[in-house]
């Protein structure tokens, strides 16, 4: 029986508890929050026997095999390091750390201690993301991706989190190096990082405060972001984050030398984009039919998953956690390779550095600009 503990009993911890309790062979043995009342309410609702206000006490008294770190991002590094020092495997919520250097330190320490670490990029393990990965592994793209487009939106309107953030100049999210973006973009960036080659992709960033926020008197929070990424083998990617565009998308597109794929996370839709064209007018009539068939297939597949009670909103998280636990027990590779965690962190570092430096001007964004394209090599 794997003993699991949770540090940080805020909103996201509920999803972790649900997922952990759905997995056989593990038990939550302790909950910790610097606010003891929060740890208490968590333990009461999820029937966890012991709760604590310090990580040290929790780890020493419950001796967990795995610790889930679900605290605000500023604390991830220190808590994760402490848990690794105690010999615990780690699941760290996204964003993994504030800086890539911290990520490197944690992953190095984990490797030295033969411990496993993963990050909460659970969107990469949703039903549709897993189907996409299987297709890519089967060679559907016809080679490495030539180009990718990841769109990740966040609707600021009518959300308690957004209202609190916009109204409170001391809100903790404002203290993050990448502010709002740091807390939101890692899912979308990680999707790209999964398919990049090498540690040093180039990053070009353009970000700004949307007119909507400017009208609300906001000048700090960048909520519109466009990024161009290019890896060592010249595969390229666009990453877009927007609070204003509608629909508020969570999409990923990959284009290989032969075919492409389109993934919609919200609707759990995967569409194959056929590379070869039909002759003459057939191109106008056959693709719409095959697309309709694919949409129907997605509908049936989603319906089947729902009827099998395997279509939870957090099913990606459950799959990731289960895979992570299996990798620990079976001593197999972790579900999110460490290189991918690092590249995601480095891209985010580069984005925030460029934003704080003013970023490239909107009208001149040359791909081959050696001045604006920042290698994200950490050294």
């Amino acid at each position: 029986m794997l003993k699991v503990a949770i540090v940080g009993c805020g909103k996201i911890s509920d999803a972790h508890a649900w997922a952990i309790r759905s997995i056989n062979g593990c038990e939550i043995v302790g909950a910790c929050d610097k606010e003891l009342l929060m740890a208490k309410q968590f333990s009461e609702r999820f029937h966890v026997k012991r709760f604590f206000s310090t990580v040290q006490e929790m780890v020493e008294k419950t001796k967990p095999d795995i610790v889930h770190v679900t605290t605000p991002p500023q604390t991830h590094y220190s808590i994760a390091r402490e848990c690794l020092e105690y010999g615990c495997h780690l699941y760290v919520e996204k964003p993994f750390t504030l800086y890539a250097t911290e990520a490197e330190e944690l992953l190095t320490l984990a490797t030295q201690k033969s411990l496993s670490v993963t990050v909460g990029h659970d969107e990469q393990f949703s039903h549709v993301a897993r189907r996409m990965r299987r297709l890519i592994q089967s060679g559907y793209l016809g080679g490495r991706p030539v180009h990718m487009e990841s769109t990740w939106c966040y609707d600021l309107g009518g959300d308690a989190y957004a209202n609190a953030l916009l109204g409170d100049k001391k809100h903790w999210v404002r203290k993050l190096p990448g502010r709002l973006l740091q807390n939101l973009i890692s899912h979308g960036v990680a999707k790209i990082a999964e398919f990049l080659v090498g540690d040093n992709p180039q990053v070009m960033t353009h970000g700004f405060v949307s007119p909507f926020l400017r009208r609300a008197g906001e000048e700090e929070i960048v909520d519109e972001l466009r990024v161009v990424i290019r890896d060592e083998q010249r595969a390229t990617a666009y990453f877009s984050f927007s609070s204003q565009m509608r629909p508020s998308l969570h999409e990923f597109r990959l284009f290989g030398p032969k075919n492409g794929l389109f993934v919609d996370e919200d609707q759990q839709i995967l569409i194959k984009l056929r590379g070869k064209r039909y002759k003459s007018y057939a191109e106008k009539f056959i693709p719409p039919l095959t697309l309709a068939g694919q949409h129907l297939g997605n509908l049936l597949r989603n319906g089947r998953s729902f009827l099998a009670s395997d279509f939870h909103m957090e099913s990606g998280k459950k799959y990731l956690i289960k895979s992570f636990y299996s990798s620990i027990v079976d001593r197999t590779p972790v579900p999110v390779p460490y290189g991918q965690i690092l590249v995601t962190s480095r891209i985010m570092d580069a984005i925030f550095e460029q934003l704080s430096a003013g970023g490239p001007p909107a009208t001149t964004l040359p791909l081959n600009s050696s001045v604006l394209a920042t290698p994200i090599c950490s050294s």
């Binding site: 805020g10 649900w18 609702r45 609190a164 009670s309 939870h312």
Partner: protein, 347 residues
């Protein structure tokens, strides 16, 4: 009164629908040092209007967050009566609702006890805490009725947080000598209120399902509610008491809906008889359990009993111990509410 008009009083959640009415009531009574605690992100339209009307000498607006102990210490300084209305309303997340209702209340209580000048803590709770089952008085829901013991199973973060908040206040009363009064308003309504209470029906599934039927709706007009809350902080000899707040002449759910459609706007609604809504809640609850929360248990039998089973309500204790009477009749209150809805001050 346990304090005079010069004594500082604190109102948390002062920019809210009920909180601003409490502030207005205190000012009308002549209190000259009303401290309003508001979050940085709060909409201050109502409070600013009161400041313009009464002047900044009588109203002190303090901005802060009750999750901060420092802010609580600052807010409670010299305050002899605290009206605590701030809460995690509208939260779907249990931890967020708990943080914004229970942790904040604990911080406020600790801070006020540290200053050692508190004469009364008025905690504003909700009807949501009652199970509405096994009532000693038959159909009558009053202050003696049972509280939801397993509030987490109701599927409503607000209910859970309010049950825990009340427990905390009572625990401070027992263990640390806190002098408190708890008030549990029914459904507060009035101009500026944005929604029709879920006790009447829901529009979750793209059409309006009328679930209340002939049930009495425990309405209280915002100014009547504010009057009860203010009196609970001032009257002698109320320590440890709990009061439900409802008005007189309460309408049935069907009557309310009919009046709303006639006076505000017409829309299609489908009435679900009680046995159908109970069956729906029962099946949803079972499916939620069987599917390991694939559908979260937002409809369940506990909620059905609390919101749609129906009860009678009493404000006898309120009238007897506080000397409260509703100044606004239900007929007039509804007329004003409908008028504000017609004028677009509702969603």
């Amino acid at each position: 009164m346990i304090i005079d008009l010069e004594t500082p009083v604190l109102v948390t959640g002062a920019s809210g629908f009920v909180g601003s009415a409490v502030v207005a009531n205190l000012l009308e009574k002549g209190f000259r040092r009303v401290r309003c605690f508001v979050r940085p992100s709060s909409d201050r339209t109502r409070i600013n209007s009161l400041v313009r009307q009464y002047g900044s000498r009588q109203i002190e607006v303090t901005q802060g967050n009750l999750t901060s102990r420092e802010d609580c210490l600052k807010a409670t300084e010299n305050c002899h009566v605290i009206y605590h209305l701030a809460a995690g309303t509208g939260e779907k997340s249990f931890p967020d609702a708990f943080l914004n209702s229970v942790v904040t209340t604990r911080n406020l209580l600790d801070a006020s006890l540290e200053h050692a000048c508190l004469k009364r803590f008025v905690g504003v709770s909700s009807f949501a805490v009652y199970t509405n089952r096994d009532k000693p008085g038959g159909r009558l829901l009053d202050e003696s009725c049972l509280i939801e013991e397993r509030a987490e199973l109701r599927g409503e973060a607000y209910c859970y947080a309010k049950v825990k908040q009340d427990e905390l206040v009572m625990e401070y009363g027992k263990q640390r000598g806190l002098r408190y009064v708890i008030l549990r308003p029914g459904t507060v309504y009035g101009p500026g209120q944005k929604t029709i209470t879920g006790r009447i029906g829901i529009d979750t599934f793209g059409m309006y399902l009328h679930l209340g039927g002939s049930n009495t709706i425990p309405l209280t007009y915002v100014d009547n509610c504010a009057e009860a809350i203010v009196l609970a902080g001032l009257r002698e000899g109320l320590d440890g008491e709990i009061f439900n707040i409802v008005d007189d002449d309460l309408p049935s759910s069907r009557q309310f809906l009919r009046l709303y459609k006639r006076n505000v706007k017409h829309f299609r609604s489908i009435y679900l008889p009680h046995f159908v809504s109970y069956l729906f809640c029962y099946l949803w609850e079972k499916y939620s359990l069987r599917s390991n929360d694939q559908l979260p248990p937002v409809f369940n039998r506990r909620r059905w009993h609390a919101e749609w089973a129906g009860s009678k309500y009493s404000n006898n204790k309120l009238k007897r111990l506080l000397g409260w009477t509703p100044k606004m009749s239900t007929g007039e209150g509804l007329a004003r509410f409908f008028e504000s809805c017609r004028n677009g001050r509702h969603a």
